[in-house]
């Protein structure tokens, strides 16, 4: 086969091109995690076939088949939809109530001192302990689930928002006041933007915890 004199150059540039693509791929799809997943799957497949007791250790291909079958079932899809809606809605209520309370607690020492003991006591109550009360109050259906989700989220959001507000440099308050801002403007110009990182952390954690509670 006849090769052009600069073919090695071309292949070199091509290889660097593929390298760049590869690094892009790693960034986009988290390659190490995918490789680990593949190793676990292959291990499962081989292990199950060596063990040969599918009741205790099901075959990999059968599990995948069941997942595929379930996903093609409309009832299952609807159930997933309902669950997602519940988590989002419950967390939303939690955020709606939690952010103002958390901000008030971070902003005012008096409010913090007034609320902190109750917030800290209530948030220790396990989620499952609320369920009977929630069913009595809201009946069966979406009500108790949303209540428990919101309740769970509200404490996480309160704590993170309050921490976010407390972390704001105290000089910022003095600075905007000395430039003529009133209390409302101090809240919109300093407290809100300053506590945003804390609020976002709270929402993320609340969503995550929501998935764990929704069952």
């Amino acid at each position: 086969m006849k090769t052009a004199p600069n073919s090695h150059l071309k292949s070199l540039s091509q290889s660097s091109q593929t390298q760049r693509n590869a690094s892009k791929f790693v960034k986009k799809f988290n390659l190490p995690a995918l490789i680990l997943l593949a190793i676990v799957c292959i291990g499962w497949f081989l292990g199950a076939h060596l063990y040969k007791k599918p009741f205790v250790f099901p075959y990999f291909e059968e599990v995948i088949g069941s997942i595929a079958y379930a996903l093609s079932d409309l009832a299952v899809l609807r159930a997933i939809g309902i669950t997602v809606r519940r988590v989002l809605l419950g967390t939303f209520y939690g955020v709606l109530i939690g952010v103002p309370i958390g901000m008030a607690m971070g902003f005012s020492t008096t409010i913090m001192n007034a609320l902190a003991p109750y917030v800290n006591a209530l948030r220790q109550i396990p989620t499952t302990a609320w369920v009977p009360m929630a069913i009595i109050w809201f009946g069966l259906g979406d009500g108790p689930t949303l209540f428990v989700l919101a309740l769970h989220g509200v404490f996480i959001v309160i704590l993170n928002t309050a921490a976010g507000v407390l972390e704001i440099n105290k000089e910022y308050y003095n600075a905007v006041r000395s430039m003529g801002a009133n209390t409302l403007e101090v809240i919109t110009d300093v407290v809100l933007p300053g506590s945003l990182p804390g609020i976002i952390t709270g929402i993320r954690l609340a969503l995550g915890m929501g998935w764990m509670t929704v069952v």
Partner: protein
């Protein structure tokens, strides 16, 4: 008199034992005349920053009165622009937005805001940083932005807490020159807290030296030198030596913080120079 400090006292309760009150200021009185640049000079813990924050209204006083343009003040207000030691620029706003913030609060029109902003940015040679975020700036640039923000609404009174304390030596000298040029254009009544003797002499019309004994005023020195100040003028050094002597007395060998160390180094250097100069003659 734009600023009158009338017999103010201030004490803090100690952190460990709330019953023990620590007296920081006792019967401190002084006045800042119109258009005058006054520096409060003193070792760490003498209460100079406390005095300034009480004038700004950030802290309450136990007794006494602060009169600003004849009115008693207890809270911060836009009549007294403040320059913070650690800038206190809002990190979620861009440079331009930080500088126009006080203008917005003063209900200046959009067009006027833009015009004033362009003017100010040019003054400090920050035209290219209008849309930068604060974390992208160097210390000297942040300091300039903080100063521009304070000057944004043409204040009559400027309060500065070690405004050049956090920047390096070169930038400090440069900013001193710029600051003097800005303040010479329009006489703003200024009160600056500093522990830097040279800075105090370079910028001030008057220097008030505070001691550690509850902020007692050790001396009130008028710096009678033509502006811009010339560091090679012998009279300049005479003032610096006089203030150094006073500070040495105020410090009395008790070094508590980095600030005191700076002062000690300055004293040592100036003594060394004096000896060196003496042998050359």
């Amino acid at each position: 008199m734009p600023i009158v400090v009338d017999h103010i006292s201030k004490s803090f309760s100690e952190r460990k034992n709330k019953k023990i009150r620590k007296q920081v200021l006792k019967d401190v009185s002084f006045e800042v005349p119109d258009g005058c640049f006054v520096s409060l000079l003193g070792p760490s813990g003498c209460g100079k920053t406390t005095t300034l924050t009480i004038i700004a209204g950030f802290q309450d006083k136990d007794s006494g009165e602060i009169l600003v343009n004849g009115k008693s003040v207890n809270a911060p207000g836009p009549d007294r622009a403040f320059v913070f030691q650690d800038y206190a620029l809002l990190p979620w706003l861009r440079v331009g937005e930080n500088i126009t913030y006080p203008m917005k609060k003063q209900k200046m029109s959009k067009a006027d805001q833009e015009k004033r902003l362009a003017e100010l940015l040019e003054l400090a040679q920050l035209q290219n940083n209008k849309n930068s975020y604060i974390y992208e700036l160097s210390g000297g640039m942040k300091q300039r932005v903080a100063l521009l923000r304070a000057l944004a609404c043409d204040p009559n009174i400027l309060l500065m807490d070690e405004p050049l304390g956090a920047v390096d030596f070169q930038m400090r000298k440069l900013l001193q020159i710029q600051l003097e040029a800005i303040l010479m254009k329009r006489k703003i009544t200024t009160l600056m807290v500093t522990h830097d003797v040279d800075e105090a002499v370079y910028l001030s019309d008057r220097v008030i030296v505070m001691g550690r004994d509850h902020g007692n005023i050790l001396a009130d020195v008028t710096i009678d030198l033509p502006r811009p100040r010339n560091r090679s003028n012998p009279a300049y050094h005479a003032y610096a030596d006089q203030l150094t002597e006073l500070l040495k007395k105020a410090l009395d060998g008790a070094v508590f913080t980095k600030e005191d160390e700076d002062i000690m180094n300055f004293i040592r250097n100036s003594e060394h120079e004096a000896r060196g100069g003496g042998s050359a003659e």
